[in-house]
């Protein structure tokens, strides 16, 4: 890597860093000093989110050229979006709806409602600061929540129990993706004492009857929201949102196509963090489409110039389950240590990316399909075959060398599946690493402990 390129990479970092801080500072300027002081006092987790620019350091560390640009662009998308979500703490709070991450926000946006994804803090905070949700996990456990429950709903419940939740007016949830998540919403409802609607996802969803049933569930949810909130459905607006989402999905498919190249032109956060944010938090946002368009351009540019995201790419892997929230730097370390490239994760892989917006019914059916067959939803519910089919399809499609499972100890659903997966991988001769860890709590398995597992795997199975 040349000296000029190094300077350019460093300049890119500083430009991005300044841009992000400008966005962060604008929020208190919008709210004014008194309101900001009150907010920080009422929502102490704001201090952690104020450190969101750390994410830039994490995702650009050791990355060069277009790969670095792509990762910086993802953070530049997240920061202003997050600040605008935080505006919901004080603005239009009568329209603020708390929703589970499995409930599509497209419908809420189309109804003119403001969203507060309940799990957002539990996901984002450990990414920004590894230890930031430990306090909330302890609060939940001290209140009697079983310690072996998934730490994501535990941290969400801890925030609710601490009364640090924004002034939401209604709750939307579903029976996905797991028992821990479902149980947490009963506590949320009891503590907040506001109306709650729970969507019923059918067990076996690969048939028209299930899609019709769940589209009807979405209709029931819309009717319920029109009664319990000031929101009114604007079907044209929903169509526009879904069409924008489709555009973004089309770019994502193009991006995936480029990832099949060996070596891959982009990897890791540029692929999974972009999806996690744009498809789950801000679907239908034109800036998300712009981001994916930019990622495709960067990837294609690297392909044309034969530049690898990871200069010494030796191994390619998929990460199954959510990314290691408190240790997302694992893969920048693995890239440098072993030339190990994270091509995609299971949360990003969506089998049904498009929504048919020709009619209201087809739009709702498209949303229903996306939600029922969404990542995690289809892996922790329904037949076990969903899990294995996706896994081995991705392995072949992206020409991978191994499968990594983020073996989150709180995920009972996948714990059972992983035993069968071990046998299947052994029969197929696919190297498999199941990383023992906890999704949000680094006290269970430390970063060193995770690295040790990866080292052992690389040394003994991959002979590195």
């Amino acid at each position: 890597m040349g000296f000029i390129s190094q300077i350019q990479d460093q300049m890119l970092f500083y430009q991005s860093w300044i841009k992000n801080y400008q966005n962060i500072i604008q929020m208190p300027l919008r709210h004014g000093p008194i309101q900001t002081f009150q907010n920080v006092n009422k929502y102490p987790w704001l201090w952690h989110l104020a450190k969101v620019n750390r994410l830039l350091t994490i995702v650009t560390n050791g990355r060069q050229g277009n790969y670095r640009r792509a990762n910086a662009a993802v953070v530049e998308k997240i920061v202003p979006n997050l600040m605008h979500i935080l505006d919901n703490l004080v603005q239009n709070t009568d329209r603020l709806v708390l929703h589970e991450d499995m409930v599509p926000p497209e419908i809420l946006f189309a109804m003119g409602l403001k969203t507060w994804m309940s799990e957002l803090l539990g996901i984002l905070m450990p990414i920004v600061d590894s230890h930031s949700v430990e306090k909330y996990i302890d609060i939940a456990e001290n209140a009697g929540i079983p310690p072996d429950l998934c730490s994501l709903p535990k941290s969400t419940m801890g925030i609710i129990l601490s009364k640090e939740v924004p002034p939401v007016k209604a709750i939307l949830t579903s029976n996905s993706p797991c028992d821990g998540g479902m149980a947490s919403y009963q506590l949320i409802k009891n503590k907040l004492d506001i109306p709650m609607f729970q969507l019923d996802v059918p067990y076996n969803f690969y048939n028209d009857r299930a899609i019709d049933y769940f589209a009807n569930e979405l209709k029931r949810m819309i009717a319920w929201l029109e009664i319990h909130t000031p929101g009114k459905m604007d079907w044209d607006h929903l169509r526009v949102i879904c069409e924008e989402r489709n555009k973004m999905a089309a770019y994502e498919l193009e991006l995936w196509e480029s990832l099949r190249q060996r070596p891959a032109p982009l990897a890791a956060e540029a692929i999974y963090l972009s999806h996690l944010w744009c498809f789950n938090v801000t679907p239908g946002d034109p800036s998300g489409t712009e981001l994916f368009k930019y990622l495709v351009e960067l990837a294609n540019d690297n392909v044309q110039k034969n530049i690898a995201a990871v200069p010494n790419e030796k191994y390619r892997t998929v990460l199954w389950n959510p990314p290691l929230l408190h240790f997302i730097d694992l893969f920048s370390w693995a890239e440098q240590q072993y030339g190990l490239t994270l091509i995609i994760d299971s949360m990003s892989y969506n089998r049904q990316p498009f929504i048919d917006t020709s009619t209201i019914d087809s739009t709702l059916k498209g949303l229903a399909h996306i939600m029922m067959t969404g990542p995690m939803a289809r892996h922790t519910r329904g037949p076990a075959q969903n899990y294995f089919n996706d896994m081995f399809y991705i392995y072949t499609y992206f020409d991978l060398d191994m499968i990594f499972i983020a073996g989150h100890i709180g995920c009972k659903n996948t714990a059972a599946l992983n035993g069968i997966l071990r046998e299947k991988c052994r029969k197929k001769g696919i190297p498999l690493l199941i990383i023992d860890y906890d999704l949000s709590d680094p006290r269970v398995v430390s970063h060193d402990g995770i690295i040790q597992q990866l080292d052992r795997f690389m040394e003994n199975i991959m002979n590195k």
Partner: protein, 262 residues
Amino acid sequence: MHNKLFAGCDVGSTTGKAVIINDNGIQGMAVCHSEIDPEETAKIVLAKACASMGTEIAPKDITYLIGTGYGRREVPFANENISEITCHAMGAFSCLPDTRTIIDIGGQDVKAISVGRKGEVIDFAMNDKCAAGTGRFFEMMANIFRMDITDFSNLSLQSQKIIPVTSQCSVFAETEVITLLAKRKNPADIAAGIQSSVAKRCFTLMKKVGIQPLVTITGGCSKNIGLIKALETKLRMPIQILPVDPQLMGAYGAAVLAMKKA
């Protein structure tokens, strides 16, 4: 001694082991108690292995040395260090090429290893978080019975009826065993319960990597006859006894790898 010499030095948590080989097979071997400093352990055991050859051979005469075991990174005079998982697999494979599954029970951890047709590691699972079922656990149990470890490992063979020891944790297991002894239960039956509970733990670990014959056992606890019998009962298949001291298998595998690499 005109052949080149190759050695493996396994610096374990409880013992240090060294094996020296040449084209004609094993020439020297030694076991010693681990010192606090792993480098010191390696020096001592290697010197002992050289001495066991009965010639003027010194560690400096070894062509290629591979360090293994938990302290392997602290052996500065080794040419290379390789994980004990890989070394145990290669060691057992070199002794018995049909070996497909290994249970390695060391002083402070237990590993199940699935071995390929070339002696490579296909999969492994390990318990390095809990002392139950390790060499230390057996030392503790033998101490309760006021026996040395050899007598304790043979005790369960006299059992008429196994008394299950259900505690998963070594501390609670100690309490449970003391209580059973105080109730004047047959010590042999209690010992059989202990061996059976460890065999169950090993079985669970081995299932993770898939149990394929031939199955063999390595590590210091491979000398525990009672455990081998309990494990054979649980597996419903025989455990192959290795022709080389199974406690030395990590060091032997390291020596074989040293010969291949040199």
